[in-house]
Symmetry: C2
Subunit: 117 residues, 2 copies
DNA sequence: GCCCGATACATCGGATTGCTATATATCGTC
DNA sequence: GACGATATATAGCAATCCGATGTATCGGGC
């Protein structure tokens, strides 16, 4: 059925997660909410994508985590490492390049007349 | 070695290809050049990615193609179908949402003080 | 005449990734 | 004690990526 989930989001989820963590530690479910809010519902970050992604970022030493059990409800708080901040800033730069490229490509498309045919 | 090629580009190559075709038919190699030019060299679209992608878009009826042999040099010209234009406009819309989201997420990061530590 | 780099398209196949489905457990509240 | 929200996790398959490789034409330099 050629299922293709989040399409455009692919590849930018790393950057999104790093950026929501830039203003302080958060746990997975909270990150999910933030992404949903920040995008007005446009970005879905399903649990099956998000948690493996967090594990990967941690194994790359871009995040560190600590588990909180005191509330009874288990939460795993993630925090940017120094390497994570460097990566964030590098990817933000790359994102800007990509956005500039797409803007160039899309401007004529969006300005095109609404097809009077 | 956890190879991860084009990173951010993932997922947006469809849109890029559709948008370069918006101002008229082009053949594969030319599309490749355009993407490279439009991005200042930042976007690589290797043949092994681009041609299968074109085949897929055609099989989804978003493109139609015709082969030109008259010049001796074989070229396969691709053109947007009506469905292709609809998809382009839909994906352009989605891209704008994503870009707005990322801009929101990244603004505070980019404005952050340059770490006086 | 021949070599070489650029042009032009194509496919194979290992590696990687994305995400649905599924599982487990706590919490509040009805 | 049922239900929806909160919270994390993984299995497993479909889909994707792209380097390597193959074919062939063209133009220029020698």
């Amino acid at each position: 059925m050629t299922q293709r989930g989040n399409d455009l989001i692919r590849g930018s989820l790393d950057l999104m997660v790093l950026s929501v963590l830039a203003d302080g530690p958060k746990y997975g479910y909270l990150i999910q909410q933030r992404l949903n809010d920040a995008s007005g519902g446009a970005v879905r970050a399903p649990a099956g994508s998000l948690y493996p992604l967090l594990h990967r970022l941690e194994s790359e030493k871009l995040l560190r985590s600590r588990v909180e059990n005191s509330t009874g409800r288990q939460r795993k708080w993630y925090e940017l490492t120094a390497a994570g901040r460097r990566r964030l800033s590098k990817q933000a730069q790359q994102w800007n390049e990509l956005a500039a490229c797409l803007e160039t490509l899309l401007r004529p498309v969006l300005e095109a007349p609404p097809d009077p045919a």
